[in-house]
């Protein structure tokens, strides 16, 4: 065997990464966000257990039913994005309509939440009206901020997809963040609303 042939044989083989760096980075970020929400949920649970009355006297009850419908819309949005991901693997251009639909469903969720907030503020539930109000706006408001950021991410991904510039890593990272927003919400709903 010639030295040339030997060096050719020993050359490292380029291997396909199992996870794109962008997706890994987003996953690490999501892990920290999960812990932040876990901390807020825990604090809320302890405050609720220690309170003689929950919701406190004079504070409105949270709209459970309408929020349940809103929760279904958000979950549907997650399912549509999952479908967009499956479509992307077959033919990337075909993923644009479901991606846009997921974006609109997410925007509907945030707008409906905003409408609910306006009604609750009118009923006297504010950030400083009670611990109940403080936890509600902190937890649900924190989630709304994440949802807004994720919607902007979806819009950015859709634009790049439309121009043919969206990479699999970018789409993967955007989807991971939206799945986090979707999946953390039922936990928050069960903790805060019920």
């Amino acid at each position: 065997m010639t030295p040339m042939a030997l060096s050719e044989r020993l050359e490292p083989v380029a291997r396909r990464p199992v996870l794109a760096s962008g997706v890994l980075g987003m996953l690490l970020f999501v892990f920290t966000e999960v812990m932040m929400f876990a901390g807020m949920i825990s604090a809320h649970t302890i405050a609720k257990a220690g309170a003689p009355e929950w919701p406190p006297f004079g504070q409105p009850r949270l709209p459970e039913r309408i929020t349940l419908v809103n929760t279904a819309v958000l979950l549907l949005s997650g399912a549509v994005l999952f479908w967009a991901g499956r479509t992307w693997k077959r033919k990337p251009a075909d993923a644009a309509p479901p991606l846009l639909l997921a974006l609109f469903l997410g925007a509907f969720f945030v707008l409906a939440q905003g409408r609910e907030w306006v009604a609750l503020l009118g009923e006297g539930l504010t950030l400083t009206s009670s611990t109940y109000g403080a936890y509600f706006y902190l937890i649900v408001g924190g989630h709304a901020l994440h949802a807004l950021a994720a919607i902007m991410g979806l819009a950015w991904a859709w634009r790049r997809l439309w121009t043919g510039a969206l990479t699999p890593a970018q789409f993967g990272a955007t989807r991971v963040f939206w799945y986090f927003v979707v999946l953390v919400w039922p936990v928050l709903y069960l903790t805060v609303y019920l």
């Binding site: 949920i41 609720k48 220690g50």
Partner: protein, 82 residues
């Protein structure tokens, strides 16, 4: 012996005798069972959640690596020789 050193034993006695027992955790010794359970539950939740996430990620990555290795081996072995 300086005056400061002379007062050290007295200071030590005072530090041992004067402080009252304080509990940093406001709910650990709460008489209400619901409160104690909430504290215990959230402690378990916050302790296990990060471990669960890391373990889940490790298992998932291991499976992905195995699948990749299997598919690459399969591709290499099934390649026609030139």
């Amino acid at each position: 012996m300086t005056s400061a050193r002379r007062f050290l034993p007295l200071l030590a006695v005072l530090m041992l005798a004067l402080p009252e027992v304080l509990h940093a955790c406001p709910v650990c010794f709460d008489p209400r069972a619901e409160n104690r359970l909430a504290f215990l539950g959230t402690t378990v939740f916050l302790s296990l959640l990060p471990l669960g996430m890391v373990a889940g990620a490790a298992v998932w990555l291991r499976r992905q690596y195995r699948q990749r290795d299997y598919s690459e081996d399969f591709t290499t072995h099934s390649e026609p020789e030139h």
